[in-house]
Amino acid sequence: MLAQQIVNAISLGSVYALFALGFTLVFGILGVINLSHGGIFMLGAYAALLLISKFFLPFWIAIPVAMIFSGLVGLLIDVLILRRLRQRQASHLMPMIATIGAAILMTSLAQGLFGSEARRFPLEMFNDENLKLGNITIPLLQAGITTLSILLMLLMVWVLKRTRLGQALRAIAESPRAAALLGIPVERLFYLTSFIAAALGGTAGILIGLSFNAISPFMGQPMLHKGIAAIILGGLGDVRGAVLGGLFLGVAEVFAITFLSSEYRDALSFGLLFLMLLWRPQGLFGASATRSA
């Protein structure tokens, strides 16, 4: 029973972590809180749904295509909104407000195109076998979802830690200006970051859509709140922090549902967030929220 819940918690938490990872990358590298990340999450889920149920693509093609589509939505938001605000050296508040606008637009668009009702994946297409480990049962789908989330996170951590691109991104995260003086094409890497972050966010949307088998135009907003909670728990802009924050939220939610009741799910996770902020205002890994221009 407990072991089963731990498996569920890790599974949910890993998807939250994936979502939070994209969110924190944008904050860390662009220095912007992109409040349309939840909207991208939702559009990613719809893109996969459409590709699978209307274009009858197998899911192993539909998922990568939907990931790329999500990335392109993020790139578009960067080029149309964030880039202009960067050029004007707008205050931190402006990108937040502008991306709230983008999120509202995406929600209305999805409502107009697909209706307000929740939609479902044709899950017959998935193998409904279970993995059995002792007395723990893991549906194959859930195992796949968790594996994909974890692999994507490991890939991102590897890129950031071990590659030239990752070095350049970390340089920008510390100081875009110092990075530019080294000949790093900062603007181009801002675009790339927006793309990657949105692709991760969209993937989280697909995976949450699959695991709850429900997709709605309104699924982005609550996820955005969880994302904010996860990255604050972990320390703004910190990749390890976002991953741990996401996992932690997943664990908190699953245990709240198991031992209290589902109504207390959000109350518990945000209550923990509140306590965390009292104890460590900078989050688990946050050094401080300062950076040079």
């Binding site: 070095q167 003086l181 080294l182 000949g183």
Partner: protein
């Protein structure tokens, strides 16, 4: 005289309504060391930032090796050999010394020749694995210079490399600049330490509140009563 390596033509830069650089014309010939001196707030750093493409110019032109680069992006300028060691050194403190050096060669294809840098700055080799934020001021300046050299500069611009350093370390830094120059790299040096700067430089320009007030060979300027009164404490 041959065409200059770098020429600023009537360059104007403003921050909002404040015009920080009011029509500056300046030349650097290949092989020279040119110093740009002047009081705090004169606009020296603004000129270097505009040369690196980090702030937009209001009007005027930057001609680099015969090409008008006024609208080039910062990374294009670095790739073409116009490299700056910025004021305050712009060290990436959360990265290691080694990573800072590797990023210095970001625009260069292939593996960076770190050994040459470690040979010149042995302390950087000892500290390669440490976070650059833990280095002393002088070590950070060496890292900044070593890192800039890895970008294969044809013109190295330095903004107050002696700032905040103990006098002995300042001497060391200027000795390094002398060697770099002997190696064939052209230097544009912004300094408050006018005495040291004029010892190293072939020519110098003097700025005051956004305008050029004086220019000439370093030899002439050292003996100029205006310079002696204002900067050399004579």
């Amino acid at each position: 005289m041959s065409a200059p390596l770098l020429k600023l033509d009537q360059l104007r830069v403003s921050y909002g309504h404040v015009e920080a650089v009011k029509g500056i014309t300046l030349e650097v010939q290949a092989g020279e060391v040119v110093a740009l001196v002047g009081a705090n707030g004169a606009g020296k750093s603004t000129i270097l930032l505009a040369l690196s493409g980090l702030i937009r110019t209001l009007s005027g032109h930057v001609i680099w090796d015969g090409q008008d680069i006024t609208r080039w992006r910062p990374h294009q300028r670095v790739s073409s050999g116009l490299v700056q060691v910025a004021e305050g050194r712009a060290i990436l403190k959360t990265l290691t010394v080694l990573e800072n050096l590797e990023l210095g060669a970001y625009t260069q294809p292939g593996k960076p020749d770190l050994e040459a840098i470690f040979h010149r700055f042995p302390i950087l080799k000892q500290r390669a694995g440490q976070l650059a934020g833990n280095l002393s001021g002088g070590e950070q300046q060496m890292l900044a210079i070593g890192r800039a050299l890895l970008a294969q500069p044809r013109l190295l611009m330095l903004d107050e490399p002696s700032m905040g350093l103990a006098p002995m370390v300042v001497g060391e830094i200027f000795e390094i600049l002398r060697e770099i120059h002997l190696q064939g790299i052209t230097i544009l040096l912004v300094e408050q330490n006018v005495r040291q700067a004029l010892k190293l430089a072939d020519r110098a320009y003097v700025m005051e509140t956004g305008s050029m007030t004086l220019g000439g060979t370093a030899r002439e300027l050292v003996d100029d009563p205006r310079i002696i009164a204002a900067y050399l404490g004579g």
